[in-house]
């Protein structure tokens, strides 16, 4: 197992190298190149020349790339054009929010998705099943930002049940230690702050969780249908085991294998910045920062964020792989 992990980690190296090369090339291919991207509206030919001189852009492209890589390895992803802060700091400021949101979305998707998928499979062909299928199809076809607006219009504005933006009511002067607001509230025993942060996660969590929900329902349903027809379930029944043991030990346990992979993949996707959802909910996470960077043409921030997020994504996928190995003895005991 350890060997497998090390191997997978090492296999990441070429991917990450390629990725950095791609993003390096991307910045260079932008109209006007990196100097223009960095200087933006202040760029004059003289300034650009000076900039190129300062940052070694007159050197050979290989040297430039190596330097870029060298900085990236030391976690120096440059500075944001707009704020002038190191990209990494910007990222770290916002990532906790995105993680909280991702967790909220996943909780929503899993808590509803797995039971729904299971029930749909048990009632294969029935009303619940058809409803679940249609709902899951709608889940993937409804534009997320539209759903987000609808949710907010209904629950925040019309009904006023839930907060419709941000991560925490600003009137709660909460102390922030880790930047995970829910956690911070617990740590500082400001439970109202925690609860408020949780409430703020509800609507964006639902909006963001819709696609994973739809996919989890579908995968769970398919997996349960597959497993139910497996020979070993028949064997279990032939052994006269009680229904609950058959379901728990033989059906659900095996059906959850593909579902867990799916959840892992979705985690990767969600962590890579829920650009649309965070924007609509003015949620202080990575996604809204990306959105801002697009409109500000903050290329260095975009480059850095995309690089970091891709690494996060790849690492999460690796974790998924490893956890799959842990879950499935066929892989684990190899």
């Amino acid at each position: 197992m350890l060997r497998f992990i090390v191997r997978r980690l090492l296999q990441l190296i070429p991917i990450l190298l390629g990725l950095s090369l791609l993003l390096f090339a991307w910045l260079r291919a932008l109209p006007g190149g990196p100097a223009q991207a960095a200087l933006g509206e202040r760029a004059t030919p003289a300034k650009i020349a000076e900039y190129n001189e300062t940052f070694g852009l007159n050197e050979s492209i290989v040297v430039q790339y190596l330097k870029f890589l060298g900085r990236a390895v030391q976690l120096d992803f440059g500075t944001s054009t707009r704020t002038g802060r190191p990209v990494l700091d910007e990222f770290l400021d916002r990532f906790p929010g995105t993680i909280e949101l991702t967790v909220a979305a996943l909780v929503f998707a899993i808590v509803i998705g797995i039971p729904l998928g299971y029930v749909a499979a048990r009632r294969h062909g029935g009303v619940v099943d058809n409803t679940a299928i249609i709902a899951s199809l709608l889940g993937v076809t409804i534009p997320v930002f539209f759903l987000a607006y609808l949710l907010r219009l209904l629950f925040a504005v019309q009904l006023g049940w839930l907060p419709g933006s941000g991560r925490q009511d600003v009137r709660i002067d909460a102390t922030h230690i880790t930047n995970f607001y829910v956690l911070d509230g617990l740590l500082t025993r400001e439970f109202d702050a925690s609860w408020d942060a949780v409430l703020h996660l509800v609507l964006p969590g639902i909006a963001l969780g819709t696609i994973p929900l739809a996919i989890i329902v579908r995968i769970t349903r398919a997996a349960v249908l597959d497993v139910v027809n497996e020979d070993y379930v028949r064997t279990a029944n032939a052994k006269g085991l009680s229904t609950s043991v058959v379901r728990r030990r033989h059906v659900v346990r095996n059906a959850l294998l593909p579902v867990s992979t799916t959840i892992g993949l979705q985690t990767g996707l969600l962590l890579s910045g829920a650009v649309l959802t965070e924007t609509v909910f003015a949620f202080g996470g990575v996604g809204s920062a990306l959105r801002q960077a697009i409109s500000d043409r903050d290329y260095s921030l975009l480059q850095g964020f995309i690089l970091i997020l891709a690494v996060v994504y790849v690492l999460v996928n690796l974790l998924v792989d490893i956890s799959y190995g842990l879950l499935d003895p066929r892989v684990r005991t190899r």
Binding site: R3, V6, R7, L10, Q11, I13, V140, V144, L208, I211, P212, I215, P258, T261, T262, G264, L265, Q266, G268, L269, L270, G273, A274, V275, L276, T277, G287, N317, V320, D321, Y324, G325, D328, P329, R330, V331, R334
Partner: protein, 398 residues
């Protein structure tokens, strides 16, 4: 091997096929080999049938494929009609493939599901520039179908519309389209129902008689092999342990493995079943990646001796013995066709002693005990690459 009288159509010398087992932290290193075929010598005379038997995973298919160069041999030579197939490349190889054809185990899987029978059969003709114009091809196809007993109406149908036996007929028809000399049949009937199995076996025999084909028939079913072979080779873990003319092999199997194999095959006859001696083997086939030292069979052999067996690889040597009823089976020496002779070859250190009854077999329990824990070969599970697994889901935009 220098025993070949006349001129064998196919001669295999020291053939080895090793599949590397790759593993490694960053770069795949070869950490070992699956010795699927590990030094096989055999020759097949023109117009005869050579039957190859052995348990699953012993390397039969790999040997067949290596002869056709569908797998790359690691070492050894394959002489086909005087040409070393193992050294051919490119166009000459393609050309010689016309003369050596293959019939596969899974009749459906070996037929392109998108082609109808007509284009399936015409393809080899076109590939080799045979058959001439359209009309000629069409006539030829009709002849072929007739030869394998299918109606002309079959031409426009697709493989999935046939029954298993009919598919196998198509497979055979396709193999003989290009008028090959050698036909390698890998488990040609094992996927078929018994009733259909017999039809196909009969067809194969009939075609051999009509077209003068040479067969190398691979099967795990000893009865099937016996039924159609002139010479039979028994494989165990990548090498031949015994080879003899069919009748002789069945009347007096010499290698302990062959003996137990034969005793394990059930015969649909209560009289035989009730009275025959069973030699049960201990444990399972060892992994070809890590074959036992010395005699490959020693881990399961009821006659295993303290000396030689564990460390000395037995040679495949010629034995001449008079059958003394050692074989448990009442033989029916019905020589229907001129017996294709050949020596009786066995690779066992103790053949003579066993044959004479000087050595007595041990029970499986004793064998297992003497070997310690029996060697289990596990199936390998598979990991899912999340990147692959993810792709057929819609790309979610959040």
């Amino acid at each position: 091997m220098d025993q070949a009288p006349g001129d064998p159509l196919l001669r295999v010398e020291g053939l080895q096929v090793h599949f590397p087992i790759k593993r490694g932290v960053l770069f795949d290193r070869t950490v070992g080999h699956v010795k699927a075929v590990d030094g096989v010598d055999l020759s097949v005379q023109r117009g005869t049938t050579y039957g190859l038997v052995g348990e699953s995973g012993c390397g039969k298919s790999t040997l067949g494929r290596a002869i056709l160069r569908l797998s790359e041999p690691t070492a050894g030579r394959v002489w086909f009609d005087g040409v070393d197939v193992a050294s051919l490349k490119g166009e000459p190889l393609r050309q010689i493939r016309r003369r050596m054809q293959m019939v596969f185990q899974d009749p459906l899987g070996s037929l392109d599901p998108r082609q109808n029978v007509e284009s399936l059969l015409a393809e080899p003709l076109r590939a080799h520039g045979l058959g001439g114009d359209k009309a000629a091809i069409s006539t030829r196809l009709r002849e072929l179908l007739d030869a394998v007993g299918l109606p002309t109406a079959a031409l426009r149908r697709y493989p999935h519309e046939f029954s298993g036996g009919q598919r196998q007929r198509i497979g055979i028809a396709r193999a003989i389209t290009v008028e090959p000399d050698l036909l390698i049949a890998d488990e040609p009937v094992s996927a078929l129902d018994v009733s259909v199995q017999a039809q196909v076996l009969n067809l194969l025999e009939e075609l051999q008689g009509r077209l003068g084909l040479t067969y190398l028939v691979i099967a795990h079913d000893l009865a099937v092999v016996r039924h159609i072979s002139d010479v039979v080779g028994v494989m165990y873990l990548g090498s031949l342990v015994e080879q003899a003319p069919a009748e002789e092999l069945y009347s007096s199997p010499l290698h302990p493995y062959t003996r137990s194999l034969m005793s394990a095959v059930p015969v649909p006859d209560p009289e035989v079943e009730d009275h025959r001696e069973r030699i049960l083997l201990a444990g399972d086939l060892p992994s070809p990646a890590n074959p036992p030292s010395g005699c490959r069979f020693h881990t399961r052999c009821p006659w295993r001796q303290e000396t030689r067996c564990d460390d000395e690889v037995p040679l495949l040597r010629e034995i001449t013995l008079t059958p003394t009823g050692a074989g448990a089976l009442g033989a029916t020496p019905a020589a229907v066709r001129p017996a294709v002779g050949g020596p009786h070859l066995v690779s066992c250190h103790w053949v003579e002693e066993i044959h004479d009854g000087r050595l007595q077999p041990k029970s499986p329990e004793e064998v297992a005990a003497s070997q310690g824990v029996s060697i289990a070969s596990g199936d390998t599970g598979h990991g899912t690459d999340p990147l692959i697994a993810g792709v057929d889901e819609p790309v979610g935009f959040h």
